[in-house]
Amino acid sequence: MMTTLIRRAIQAGFVVFAMTLIVFVGVNVIGNPVDILINPDLNQAERLRVVQNLGLDQPLWRQYLSFLHGLSQGNFGDSFVYSKPALDVIVERLPATLELALCAMVIAIVVGLPLGLYAGLYPERLSSRLIMTGSILGFSLPTFWVGLMFILLFAVQLGWLPSNGRGETAEFLGARWSFLTGDGLAHLVLPALNLALFKTSLILRLTRAGVQEVVMQDFVKFARAKGLREGRIVLVHILKNLMIPVVTIIGLEFGSLIAFSVVTESIFGWPGMGKLIIDSINLLDRPVIVAYLMMMVVLFVSLNFIIDICYTLLDPRVRLDGKG
């Protein structure tokens, strides 16, 4: 057990290291930082001075080492746009994205799980078929277009909900959150629904497939034969056995929610990390781009690491050290 964990941790560390290399080489070799970083109006002498200041005249391996050195201290350089350390700029935006992703996840679970349960228990009913067709639409509809249609319908035509920004925020645990104020909550509804759409369909289909599998099992038949109430069978016997795959997916998909919030945040002007990275790519704000990418790499590698550990703890059949 311990060896497996250590081996996995080393692998995760190696992956992060490899990604630093890829990101560094990508940004510094394929893209030319001199063109990006230096004001084209400068004359030759000034140019040279800036190049030296930034250490771009050094050999590549030395640049990489100083990049790694900065990384180990969380120092990605200052953002060109905000004139603040890049990491600070990103961390400032983290609560907004987390809030959005968490709300979307809650919506996906609250809507997807019961509907999936229903569609799985009564697959022949017309309403179940409608739910399943709806979930296909949820998969096929491009998220950003649905977001636009939300704005059109709820913000422009009906005028019920605001469509831009976070609204009023309140301080809690040292960060500012929208869901604590009425105005912020109203701002949160549309983006959260938009982001939740895809995951709702996913959880719905997963739950339905799981229910249909569990219903066939002997212990459910036995519970029925024993004359247990249907509600108890569903809640205790079926739902409990469903939770393992569903919880796994929820854990796995949370990371992808944060990644996909890029789209939703751009549409609804939500000032989170996703909007920041798009703006930074368009403005060529290199330190922020590098910091964001590295943060995402660390996030996903750690998520996978945690999920791997949970697997071994929950299910002894999973042998991580087995041949992949």
């Binding site: 990101v23 277009w145 059109l152 422009v156 996903f300």
Partner: protein, 307 residues
């Protein structure tokens, strides 16, 4: 007499219709109404995209044909010269319908090209891994696992952050983001096929490795790869539209569907819905049609479902 019999037999053999394995499959394919809709939609879309210059009322790239006086007209209105704009015009006075027809071209080309290249790279990698085995396989599959643990949009963003914006880079980004799916599928199928007797027979005949791979393994692994490729075209079109919408993709002068939708974004709050709405519908029809066809292909091509 004997000779004649033999001749007759030969004639009978040559005149026997070739084994028609394709027909039942095609018939089965269309037996589901959803697949029929999908196929019709797909044919329609491809036709419109291919013959866009002939079908469209206007060439949206030709600045001479645009008139700023005609900008932001609602659907159903007419231009100053009396040409009808069935779906309205955008901010530059471009006919939305023509824009969609030309936009479909860009979207389809990007989608098909990236899915195709990703399929070739991924399938090669997967087959190689399964056939060679050993260390090559484990390293390659670790790479695939690693890549699949990152969401596609993040991989695409990473590529675009490094390479910069543009259509070619979007195609590259989609290839980088999607090849691993093919590699995993190809390897999975090839691992099963590798153990079968025909591969062993080919090996016993000392047929060179690349030939076994290309002529024996590949054709038998193709069915699931085709299914995935179909679905991936839809995903690639959606991804391209998303990236273009975010301002990272196609150029303004040669808009894809995503770009058209993005153009309408700024007018949305003033209620000019048609600029974003109709290109979105076109995108939706494209994606759903491809997915319906792919879904049915999976059912038909899966030997376990054959009856």
């Amino acid at each position: 007499m004997d000779i004649k019999l033999a001749d007759a037999a030969e004639i009978a053999v040559t005149e026997m219709p070739p084994p028609r394995r394709a027909w039942p499959a095609i018939r089965r394919f269309f037996s589901a109404p959803a697949a029929l809709f999908g196929a019709i939609g797909l044919v329609l879309i491809v036709t419109v995209a291919v013959f866009a210059p002939l079908l469209s009322p206007q060439n949206p790239y030709d600045l001479m044909q645009l008139d700023i006086m005609d900008s932001r007209l609602p659907p159903g209105s007419e231009s100053f010269a009396g040409v009808p704009y069935h779906l309205g015009t955008d901010g530059q006075g471009r006919d939305i319908l023509s824009g969609i027809m030309y936009g479909l071209r860009t979207s389809l080309i990007v989608g098909i090209a990236s899915a195709l290249v990703a399929a070739i790279i991924g399938t090669t990698a997967g087959l190689m891994a399964a056939y060679v085995g050993g260390r090559t396989e484990s390293i390659m599959m670790r790479l695939v696992d690693l890549q699949l643990s990152f969401p596609t949009i993040l991989m695409a963003l990473m590529v675009l952050a490094i390479l910069g914006n543009g259509v070619t880079n979007v195609v590259l980004a989609i290839i980088v983001a999607e090849w691993a799916t093919y590699a995993r599928t190809a390897r999975g199928t090839a691992l099963v096929e590798r153990e079968k007797e025909y591969v062993e027979a080919a090996r016993c005949l000392r047929i060179p490795g690349h030939r076994v791979l290309l002529r024996h393994l590949l054709p038998n692994c193709l069915a699931p790869i085709i299914v995935i490729a179909t679905m991936q075209v839809a995903r690639a079109i959606g991804l391209e539209a998303t990236l273009s919408f975010l301002g990272l993709g196609a150029s303004v002068t040669q808009p894809s569907l995503g770009m058209l939708i993005a153009n309408g974004y700024q007018y949305l709050l003033s209620g000019l819905y048609w600029i974003s709405f109709y290109p979105g519908i076109a995108l939706l029809i494209t994606i759903v049609s491809i997915n319906l066809v792919g879904d049915r292909l999976r059912d038909v091509l899966n030997p376990r479902n054959a009856r």
